[in-house]
Symmetry: C2
Subunit: 211 residues, 2 copies
Amino acid sequence: MSDEGEVILDQTGRVLGPRAQTTRQRLLDATTGLLDEKSLRDLRVADIARQVGTSPAAFYQYFKDVEDAVLCLAGQASNEMPSILEHLDGDWRGEAGLERARRIASAFIDHWDQHRAVLRIRNTASDEGDARFQAVRSEAMQPVLMGLAAQVKRNRGDKPATGEHPLAAAAGLAAILERLAAYRRELERFGVTRDDLVETSARIVHRTVTG
Amino acid sequence: MSDEGEVILDQTGRVLGPRAQTTRQRLLDATTGLLDEKSLRDLRVADIARQVGTSPAAFYQYFKDVEDAVLCLAGQASNEMPSILEHLDGDWRGEAGLERARRIASAFIDHWDQHRAVLRIRNTASDEGDARFQAVRSEAMQPVLMGLAAQVKRNRGDKPATGEHPLAAAAGLAAILERLAAYRRELERFGVTRDDLVETSARIVHRTVTG
DNA sequence: TACCTTCCTGACACTCCGTCAGATCCGGAG
DNA sequence: CTCCGGATCTGACGGAGTGTCAGGAAGGTA
């Protein structure tokens, strides 16, 4: 990622002045925009540069390659990981727990609606084994995963008799939350509304957490 | 896909003789092998050709591009979609239903263990919007999705009062099954065994289907 | 051997990548 | 206002990989 910390550097390690920061940000914005139209695979450095009205060479001043820029965007998006953790801790039993689950599901959907293209790439690149994207994704999801696993464990009174593994259950729940949020558009075409998604995933999560 | 029906054609539409079929198959095998080492993005036609001991130009005789070859493999893998549908129909209540769910989960894991690389690409390409991969994936998953949705609907006595949407629930369950199967390796490093995965996903599926 | 079909290849034009030396820009010192 | 020096950008290029084509090799048949 080319965006760690506060001081932003270019590819040779030098601090960026204000003019450069503007250019860099415009390159990032252009990348975001273009990703709504074409896949990462089809996204050319030349496209991004043209959109910004600069030369391809300028792009390489700030980013190693297109993936590097997207990685940066993915980092930003992941950092906006919504207030899910707040909802995690507390009592999961009964209607209050279900409401908790609804809030989490809803926050996930909002998160994905706002960063669909970039989050999709984050996950696919991560699935394909790219270590940098894996790191960004983990950083965002790990707390959710651990939080869910802890709640599963707690609310079952630690009885492993059910045969369910807390971490596996948490991973499964995370899968539902992500997938339904990611596929919102597609499911809508089959008559599944946003509320349906929230309610359905919330109930599965709630049932799984409380056993 | 370059593999529809029985008679196999080359890129110009001519029927393949026995020698050509062998070459084509070797190209496919080499592709499978290389996909275990590198990502689709890094897989060059030249690599595949060299592996087979032929020229890059030969590759283009049988496939439009690398994706086309992988698509063909994805189609083959998807067709081997295991005997999941057999387990879907029937009574889901009680221990028998849970056992049903275990069989499905187990079959999913086997399926993914056998075709991990190709199925991953099928899904990521499909996620990225590639219509051809979407078609292959749908063809494989649609029956599972519909079957699960039908069971959800049936076993709830059609009471929509629970607020869960059958199709959304089915999509969520499919997400769990796929993700846990796809991430088996990674989860194992955290001490989650195959049995844990089967039992956990089976129970979530069973609970969700029976309400 | 001569021939014909099937299959494969060398060679090429093209696209895009990533780098570098040098041009351009711009604010501040004089 | 003019000039200077660092900050920023660019044109031009070597390289890798793609996809195509005319023609060459391989193998069967008579």
